[in-house]
Amino acid sequence: MACQGLQKGETLASLKTESDGLKKKLEVERGKLNDVELHQVAEKTEVLGALSIKTRRVLKGHGAKVLCMDWCKDKRRLVSSSQVRTSTDLWTREHGVSLPCTWVMACAYAPSGCAVACGGLDNKCSVIPLSLDKDENLAAKKKSVAMHTNYVSGCTFTNSDMQMLTSSGDGTCALWDVESGQLLQSFHGHTADVLSLDLAPSETGNTFVSGGCDRKANVWDMRSGQNIQSFESHESDINCVKYYPSGDAFASASDDATCRFYDLRADREVAVYQKDSIVFGASTVDFSLSGRLLFAGYNDYTINAWDVLKGNRVSILFGHENRVSRVKLSPDGTAICSASWDNTLRIWA
């Protein structure tokens, strides 16, 4: 790897020129491999039939905006977090238990189903073990694991209950050992708040993707902390990133009213999901099990289902009465759950 040194007298400007020059060169190199568009190749694929996706359940009970939700691996329980006027409720539907956590912007279910992680404006991410005893004082069992210097925007357990990955408004992501609270690895590279992260679905992979206010989506190696790839094509903050089921690509939702699809092997954006009639920002995305459908929640209260390969919108899901804050596929792919600022959660199937 050659990085030429500066001679005496060179300044910041020349560094900038070198950086810009390299960016252009990279664009040209990547452009050479761009021999066809995804939707063109997908023309030979069968058109999707009309989807029969409807609201199947409406979960009321939160007293305020629901900001986040996550499914349990058993595909029937979920955890959701909301922002009640003075404090935040967080509960799992099965128990109807209120878990103590203030200002929760991110929540996640542990793979074992025995604990829940939540974090937000308290700059921390805590883990709360769940028990079947309804009367047990769960507040006492809450354990702080992650410590950031700004709000926690996203959290997820890695393959076990023992490690947790968090993203934060301080511009970093971090990997934590749950038991000791030790920081195992930190990931630096974003130049603004990181709003979302997603772990690669592969059992053998050690990577994750993050998206932030610097309009970049970065792919990271968990072992070394290195930024492996970076994608910058959105025109505004990236609110959510999600891997395609094979792990070779990922999608992002942004305030610029588009969702984009990036492939890691081609190292470029391969599709943009947008429409002139869609002017509100997209806050969340998730794929269906096969990766054929991309569900995106928008600030105009709707959820749009896009055909990932062909690039057209297949369906609009109406029902929420305020912004959709989170959309997530159930672990077996049978349903989509959406959380909204209208205080409800909906299950669609």
Binding site: L15, E18, L33, L38, S52, G171, T204, N206, S246
Partner: protein
Amino acid sequence: MQSFSSLLLSLRSGFDSGFIYSSGVVWYFCRSCLQSDQLLTSHSLTQKREKASVQRGRGKKESAPNLLCGRLIIIEDIVTQIQDETDGVPIRTVKSFMTKIPSVVTGADIVQWLMKNLCMEDPAEAMHIGSLIAAQGYFFPISDHVLALKDDGTFYRFQAPYFWPSNCWEPENTDYAIYLCKRTMQNKTRLELADYEAENLARLQRAFARKWEFIYMQAEAQVKKKDKTERKILDSQERAFWDVHRPVVSLRLSTLDYLLFAVSTNSDSCHLLFQILFLNTQLDRHCMKMSKVADSLIMYTEQYMEYDPLVTALEPANPWASDDPSFWDLEASKEPSQPRVKKWGFSLEEALKDPAGQELFLKFLESEFSSENLRFWLAVQDLKRMPQQEVAQRAQDIWTEFLAEGAPSSINLDSHSYERTSQNLKDPGRYSYEDAQDHIYKLMKSDSYTRFLRSNVYQDLLMAKKKVRAIYLSSTHRSTSVYLLCFFKYTI
């Protein structure tokens, strides 16, 4: 490039600054720009910059010419600058005991120069950086072989550019043999071989027994040099070269690969430097053509579409839509459905993801007496999920079970991966077995897995399921009770 925080943790404590370099690129860092808990971003660097410059600058004007401060430097630029006739250190010939020592400079001079030109206030810092530069072989003490910089009258000599690390030296053992041979031909006591060198020579003589004559001839030819002074210098430089590449102990500091330098107060240049480094690595990346990528994405999606409940109608129906959990009951049962068995044939990953698939594959491997491969792979997966405290012990246990000599479940690793793994185990961590795991996975995928798919165990299950499913469908009936999410219990 390691992340900042992990690099900072490897900095010697007490220093205000450090340096990052990789393959000759260097930039110089000011610690007072950093947050106390060492969580750093270039964003926070901007915030701290003003604070730092007030702390350090105190309104002092920098004395001109501060050539290297505040800029991206190649370590070799430092080394070139320091030898400059006008702005560098005084390199001279020193008279001593009837001989002349050509081309030397004192350690103190080097320290002074580094302090002035790299804006350091503490000589200890200059010694630290100087030692790291010395450890790379850019300059060396002429008397002993400790590649470190001392702030006193010790004499140092600069290495010839021919021997600089940026020439990507990977010197071979034959060259080393020739060199040691040459040393024995020089009849001066102070050039006698050290113990480890004598041992190395003996080892090499055994290894190269058949071509030792050739090596000896090469050595002889090289010993005939021209001018006495020139030979002195060249000999010492060659010696220093081998001190770096065949050290007495493996003291190539691991931090050396990632020495921390930074551009002093300017975080913008710091950020740009990282950008430039990053972009360079991206240019080296080999990418796939879009047409291939598109085909791959389409193939994956089409393969899984029949399993996608939101796209294809399920049999039995989607529980959320029909309020009938038969689909879930079927999935949870010990008897995997035919589509599920079929999925195991998509990839080894799919087979291992499903507990039933994993079980069948393990049984198959046991019948072939190669189950230790899968068990090893599973053990390493487990290792990665352990809490930090238990990692080291578990890593050792895995070694004992699978890799040690006479291990009960000995796996077959190529010698290269084996070497790497045993090296990793000196400092056991959750990723110590990555190479080995990768190797074993590829082995299973290309070898055992393909046989598994063709095996009777798998094929019988695949065919049998088709019949069973048909029977199931014809006899089942829908339940009419309504299930609310709240009351679902997980049944095994």
